[in-house]
Amino acid sequence: MADTATATAVDHHDDHGHSESFWSKYIFSTDHKIIGFQYLFTGMAMGLIGGFFSYVFRMHLAFPGSEVPFFGIVSPAAYNSLVTNHGTIMIFWVAMPVLIAALGNFLIPLMIGCDDMVFPRINRLSYQIFLISAIVLIASFFVPQGGFGGAWTAYPPLSSEAEYNGTPFGAPMWLIAVTLEIVAFLLGGINFITTVMNARAKGMKLYDIPMVVWMIVIASILFMASVGPLVAGAVMLLFDQTLGTGFFDPAAGGDPVLWQHLFWFFGHPEVYVVLLPAMGVVIEIICTFARKKLFGYKMILYSSVGLGILSFFVWAHHQFISGVDPRATYLFTTTTLLISIPVALMLFAMIGTLWGGSIRFTTAMLFALSFIAEFLIGGVTGIWLGSSGTDIYLHDTYFVLAHFHYTFVPIAIIGTFSALYYWFPKMFGRKLNEFWGKIHFWGTIIPFNGIFLPLFILGAAGQHRRIAGYTAYPDLYTENFQDLRVFATGSLIVLILFQIPFFVNFIVSLKRGQKAGPNPWNANTLEWVAPSPPPHGNFGDDLPQVYRGPYEFSVEGREEDYWPQNEPDPGPSETSK
């Protein structure tokens, strides 16, 4: 597999670090940090597309029939396509690349104290496949009859028969894009897991690994273990779509509900695949800015492992009204309610960490705290949806939609922002502006609640989430409900406008932000040992050695309130206090 051409290219730019071109430095680099940035910026660009989609269909819902600025009239087919691709993009091309791939690539080698991923070229390949998948997805919007509109869950027969979904080209392209994305993340995940298992710094035992690294590894394992049946299912669905086989066609003896099992066996663990890294980010930030040792390191670790295992037993709660065996719904209701225990344990451990800490309200900390609060709303509203009785009423209403946005927005948006504000100094050597950061924070959190709280009410009132033109349903088109929709849409526009300060802040701070030293937050983990931004190879010639756990804050008898992992223990004379 050693293609000598690239091998010599690697040699070349290692030896002459300054003479390398833009292409070999930023596009075809095997440096884990550059690959992390590639994922980050691709994810942010896809996030803009997904956000634009949500703006278009929310405008359409608030002002049905009128022209949406920058888009035009939204036809029902366009509405379906927009909703489908909003969901797909936000999960597969925003949450996963940013939270797992970008953070994982950037942080794992730095935090476990080694110079790169164990397979740098597989890492690059993973990003390239991911980029191709994104291009295929975007291209699918422009083929005849438009992009796929059968919801991100792609239930057959709607997804398998072109005469139902009306997108003979968009649907297979969507499926190919998703499959390529899965392949990219399998490659990346194998790299993450192997790196953490084998390449840890000298002295770093299992319980000295920072929580965010643990979480990314557990998430990668979950992803790998759950996605297999979906890959098999995607091949079968692709054959159904393009060749005309009948795997999911009842007329040929197939079972359409089988796809739902294949999909949700992946789809539910997938929720935890993106949740866990966000949890890890929040834990890091809370420990640093509460200046306190993490409350219950092992408990959090074991509950996240338990969460991962339990997540394989809950998938059919997405299918309570799809005609699954009613007796199986008892089982899946029970496991679904059980899964709130490990999540609650983790959230309580975060709150326990805050207790008695000396809390610093930096922007990163504000985002981390709001993650706990908002995610709690998402988790608690899930109880109605996990119980099969109430779910029969609430299924596929805006209540479900508001519920999972209260989980996914904290994960993908709030978690990402807190990570960016926290690690930006490490990534680019300068701090983001805190004043504009706080404006961005409040401008994100308040409108976010403004969007989705009204949708809970609409959902409880029975509005189905996939109706493009509900003006035909007089029960749903009352003035009160319409006011709620307009309010939600207005909040969305405010939220989008408040992202402008963030992007301006981001770009300006790249060049003119306050210079940051290696350890601007006085944190303990190993990435703060390396210079900011870390050079190729991260730590120079002598890689750090680890002497203690990652969260030794405010240890009695020390002058500083932090104790970096790589600092050797003081001699016996100093410790005798």
Binding site: A252, D255, V257, L258, H261, F312, G323, V324, D325, A328
Partner: protein, 135 residues
């Protein structure tokens, strides 16, 4: 791996070949002995799938050196297999059971779709025949 005391690869290979012959012969013997019903099923299951498991074990343990590998590797593989069982049994409750105490999964048969019955020999299960006239 030379330091490990595993049996010679040739022995394992010959054993795999013998097992392979048995697994092919199983259903043939069942036909020759004119076995029917449960006995035939048991014989086929044991010779085909029981022996497949044994063969897989020998390849994994000796050819792939899993027996001499660090304990992580077999655990990784076993946990994946365990998850498949979770998937299979979770899905089987739905896919395999077509009727319960108070309910029945009724396939939708549109008037113009009556012609689908010709799939009987390869496809649809027998419940289809009873559907629609349960009242």
């Amino acid at each position: 791996m030379a330091s490990h005391s595993h049996p010679s690869y040739l022995k394992i290979y010959i054993m795999l070949l013998v097992l392979f012959v048995i697994s092919v012969a199983g259903p043939e013997i069942a036909d020759i002995m004119k076995l029917e019903g449960a006995t035939r099923l048991i014989l086929v299951l044991i010779t085909a799938f029981g022996i497949a498991l044994v063969k897989a074990y020998y390849v994994l343990a000796y050819f792939m050196h899993l027996k001499f590998e660090k304990i992580y590797a077999p655990y990784i593989l076993l946990s994946m297999v365990a998850l498949l069982f979770v998937f299979f049994f979770g899905t089987a409750t739905d896919a395999m059971k077509s009727e319960g105490h108070n309910w029945e999964k009724t396939p939708i048969v549109l008037p113009e779709d009556k012609g689908f019955d010709h799939h009987d020999d390869h496809g649809d299960h027998s419940h289809d025949d009873h559907s629609g006239h349960d009242h």
